[in-house]
Symmetry: C2
Subunit: 387 residues, 2 copies
């Protein structure tokens, strides 16, 4: 990229509040240099002009690029191989475009060794409330660790609470993580996470569609959320109140055709109320990282079956179970007593008794039959017993 082209992209990135589809279309038509020149000169159609006139004369491009260079950062443009073209195709759908800000970014400001296109090929968003509980942070960290262990990139927004727990666990496991922030990457919000952001920049990737120095604002957080959803195959909301930015990210995931997932929690916890609302609305319930991998991984990469507790009685035939049930907890019964209690004819009781004896479950003593007692430890693995 020549300096002229870079400066044009940097100028265009700031001249309209992103995303600005009118400006994006102009750049696609004329290229960045010609588009920037025309915008600066005011020689554009009225629908573009109205979007750029407030900042038309504000050219901080050289300064912005200086800041970026000092950070060792880079611009990622639609002309770069690193542009996540496939991911951003999701913005073509009809429902997305109807939503305010339902458009891809013009250009991205990035810093870190990770390639955006490659890292987001197999990626999941882990998001949630800043007011997370210890439970929420624990689950976020656990999921993030499980995902990076399975080579899934953890994408989040760098906020306090769930986001931070997810980034931190991904870094701790030496996995890939991408933080997408709602202001300039030179001074990402919140300042209390500056050490975390520094580590993300050094080891993974920090991204924003806003030029350096941009302050995050309420609307920019919501606008940023669409990128978190778009750049991943699934958005997992770990904890969220009823009114939460995480629910907004989940909304973007839905409209972008991504999997919407939520982690349940106690119904008595306000921090899980937004997750439960999502689950009632059709979100996929997530309890383990493998269940997320099923959604973002290769076809057929299925989660292991959860191991159900087993008891020695599992493999028995119906008649054998019925005969076993008819034996007393203490003491022994004759065949006739067993038959009456089981409601089976006596001649249908001996076969099952023999099978149960071979299985080591019953034994005969002096012509009567009784249950073979086992060590409690073995039986207590079952949750249920009678019910």
């Amino acid at each position: 990229m020549t300096d002229e082209v870079r400066r044009a992209w940097a100028y265009l990135s700031r001249v309209a509040e992103p995303p600005c589809p009118e400006l994006t279309a102009l750049v696609a038509q004329l290229g960045p240099v010609e588009a920037a020149g025309r915008v600066k000169a005011g020689r554009v159609e009225p629908e573009v002009l109205s979007k750029v006139e407030a900042r038309q004369e504000l050219d901080c491009a050289a300064n912005d690029l200086d800041i970026l260079d000092r950070m060792g950062g880079r611009l990622i443009t639609p002309d770069d191989d690193e542009w996540p073209l496939l991911r951003f195709r999701a913005f073509r759908g009809g429902d997305v475009l109807k939503r305010p800000n339902g458009h891809p970014p013009l250009v991205l400001w990035a810093s870190g060794p990770t390639r955006l296109d490659e890292a987001t090929e197999r990626a999941a968003a882990i998001v949630g409330t800043r007011a997370a509980t210890a439970y929420g942070e624990h689950v976020a960290a656990d999921l993030a660790a499980g995902l990076v262990e399975r080579e899934v990139t953890v994408v989040s927004g760098g906020a306090y609470g769930i986001d931070g727990a997810a980034h931190r666990a991904a870094l701790a496991c030496e996995g890939e993580t991408v933080a997408i922030v709602a202001g300039g990457i030179d001074n990402p919000y919140p300042a209390g996470h500056s050490a975390l952001f520094h580590r993300i920049r050094r080891e993974c990737l920090l991204v924003s569609e806003y030029p350096p120095g941009t302050a995050p604002g309420r609307l920019r957080f919501l606008t940023r959320n669409r990128l978190v959803a778009a750049l991943t195959g699934a958005t997992v909301v770990v904890e969220a109140g009823l009114r939460s930015g995480a629910a907004n990210t989940a909304g973007w995931a839905k409209v972008l055709g991504r999997s919407v997932c939520a982690v349940p929690g106690p119904v008595t916890s306000a921090a899980s109320a937004g997750c439960h609302a999502l689950l009632r609305d059709g979100a996929m319930l997530i309890g383990r990282a493998e269940q997320v991998v099923e959604l973002v991984g290769r076809v057929g990469e299925l989660a292991r079956e959860e191991r159900h507790p087993e008891t020695p009685l599992d493999g028995l035939a119906p008649a054998e179970k019925r005969v076993h049930d008819a034996l007393p907890a203490r003491g022994a019964h004759t065949v006739d007593e067993i038959a009456a209690l089981a409601g089976l004819p006596p001649h249908q009781v001996l076969g099952p008794l023999t099978m149960l004896e071979l299985a080591g479950l019953v034994e005969s003593v002096d012509g009567c039959w009784r249950i073979v007692r086992r060590r409690r430890a073995r039986l207590s693995r079952s949750d249920g017993g009678p019910r």
Copy 2:
């Protein structure tokens, strides 16, 4: 009902392990007295004979009825008004009949002032593991209290843990509750709940399809579960391990065309693992009693919307939000500065500023504009803030 008829029903109730569709058909065809006579004499088709021959000669009817009378109990038969005919129609479906024991009972043994047909018209099952946590018992009690408050009967199995918590809360709120047990109602299981069962018998209803003295067994618990599901409009599993009788009840609810519901909990809690498996399998997530009433109540009896936290910025138009976002957290900006930060032409900034001023959100000082600070208590009602 004459004594002869009662004795016939009592005899038939014990002579085959219920449910026995062959015996039920015979009774429907001949009436209880004639059917009992033929069974006792062995003058029945081979498919009936094979089901009854083990207990054919065992006639405890007089004794069973004595026990029932001493308890102040009654038989509920298909000939009684109290027979829950509409509820048992669910057993007619094809999928139900394919399941082992997918049949209605022959007759029910009951004790308590509550009428079974009326109580189960508007009823929900609250079930779950015996190994409940404090969280599970709290939620079970809370749901049961909320249901009876809305005149929904709480049906359960009388077990330790979730079942007991549900029954107890329903009784404490002077609501209706029905316990369906897997053995005789004279000595219901578990013995540790005898005081609870006594109270249920005195104030509500205790029911079983097994004659007095029958011991509960593994299979009888599973068979009983179908009645819990059939006699209610929805089955709510509050806590359940991966292997749990409650999941079996939920399976019956599904095949019987009832709503299957589950309460979520921490994904770190083994006692919620069965609930989460049900939720992943399509069960309805339940957090409040009203959500159950929606399923079992009258058409249109909808749960109140959950109250979302609100902030003073909720009602703002997009341009107003954008202008508000452009104002600094501290200090003030000129109109031109606001225009550049918001990315709006200056002439599009004054209107929104005026509206924000009228709403008491911003004020102008010496030609500059700043945010009006509010008491924190008011703003902290929102979960989100930026995200």
